[in-house]
Amino acid sequence: MAVQLPEMNLVLLSPEILLSLVAMGLLLMSAWSGKESRGLIGTMALSGIVLAAVVLAGLSSATPSATMGGHFIDDRLARAMKWLLLIATALPLLMSREYLNQHGLDSGEYYVLTITSLIGAMAMVSAGSFLLLYLGLELMSLSIYVLAAYQRDQLQSTEAGLKYFILGSLASGILLYGTSLVYGATGTTLFTAVANAIKTAEHVSPVLVLGAVLVIIGISFKVAAAPFHMWAPDVYEGAPTSVTAFIAVMPKVAAFTAFFRVLLEAFSALHVHWAPMLQLLAVLTLAVGSLGAIAQSNIKRLLAYSSIGHVGFLLIGLTTGSQLGHQSVVFYLANYIFMSVGAFCLVLVLNRQGIGDQISDYAGLAKKRPLLAFLMSMFMFSMAGIPPLAGFIAKLYVLMAAVKAGLLTLAVISVIFAAIGAFYYLRIVKIIYFDVAEQPFDMEVSLSHQIVLAISALIVLVVGIFPGKLLDWSLASVQSLL
């Protein structure tokens, strides 16, 4: 008996295949070559990502389709999110080289792990079934656990890695359990088939709802939505700063795409069940994000809470269930990448000459390095949602979507928390501009840091004033949903 194998259109997988080959090649290179070629490995990793972007651009004319028996989807959403993922990997990679050199962390495995986690994330955003979703999630997470513990001789870093690993594995287990319950209730793992099974069933089985809840909890862990956020501040603080910049943006893009796929493609008929749950999560996340950050003295911890706050806004966009809401999520994610990467890049730059990660270390930055101070204030203003910066438009669209969907209470609550959140962003600006300098600011800003800062600042400014193009792009990417 010959088994009918599903058709395989490997062309659609070419960015992932290319990156896998790059990762394997670099792994062998890092084992065989000496110290002198480490810079080369970093360059090759970056070129690999650029090459993958070129391949992805070449795919953009192909008609959106699914392959591998429906497990792998290549649609507008997947392509748009892959662009964001490539950017969210390339920028942190670009700015990490000097940091790694200075801290004696420069080895080929760093780049290999970054690329493997990127492959996992790309598989996640293209997932057409719970199976590929889980596989991608694990590949992404496992690589990131190792990256978080990369500074092996630092207790904080190993603690971060271990904590992330244990809680992340728990989340993966919950997600997998939810998947098995969904499979038990519907008899399939494909998103479209699950959606069909729910529509044709005469009543919603409690097993299915429990499965859906567990899946949502599993993904909520990955985006650090409260009350599943406990790992985030410790991991962000303990991990090497270049890794923190990476894990603050890249997994969020992948996990929110997973939310899109699971909630809108598989569980769209269960909207009445998951929408209140996500709204509750959103309120809790906003509260934790804005209240938790107030007392922080460490900039990395503060940015961790700030990212939790952003996740709260993203969840609101998701819970509206409208096209405007989905558009606002993609738009917010795109802007969040640049705001966050820019802020972390400044933390990296200012961290170089022995000045620590404490916010008080930035006192008087404006007198000595006005440009750096201006950039830091700009990113903080953008995160706080002050016009005319990108963060404002992003928040505005989320709120518009919430109001149009009739979620007025939620919109009001989020504005209140955004106002509270503005306090700690403005506190940093105040310290930079009005406090007296204690440390010298004689660091040099290397070329790669200049590039990353220029790109992030430009996008935050330009998108803030002319958001039209990016908004259209976000809308086009979510049109295949619903």
Binding site: A2, L5, L28, S205
Partner: protein, 118 residues
């Protein structure tokens, strides 16, 4: 839907009851004559010579992790071998690709010296 699982529930109940009854029975009915030697850890009749929880070489962990990786590889080979005739050339090529990926990892750990004890 859910009633299909009823036999499993029944089996679970019987299994639980059996275990509870047996343990409770031995606990309630069995004679208890405890003295120091009897309740001590059993070590071939000797008095315990050292603590049981010794630290041991971290290299054991490395080896066991590597073992798990390549054991999983073997676990994937079995279903593939069973279905080998049905999936034909495509299956063969796919398995070769899979093994190639693992071979890269194998070459890496070999070169890194993870397989050497000293």
């Amino acid at each position: 839907m859910l009633e299909n699982y009823f036999p499993i529930l029944l089996l679970l109940a019987v299994a639980l009851a059996t275990a509870v009854v047996m343990m409770a029975g031995s606990f309630l009915v069995g004679p208890k004559r405890n003295y120091a030697e009897k309740v001590a850890q059993y070590e071939c009749g000797f008095a315990p010579l050292s603590r049981v929880r010794l630290p041991f070489d971290v290299r054991f962990y490395l080896l066991s992790i590597l073992f798990v990786v390549f054991d999983i590889e073997a676990a994937f080979l079995f279903p593939w071998a069973v279905a080998f005739k049905d999936i034909g050339l495509t299956g063969l090529v796919e398995m070769l690709l899979f093994l190639m990926v693992l071979l890269v990892g194998y070459a890496y750990i070999w070169k890194k010296g993870a397989l050497e004890w000293e």
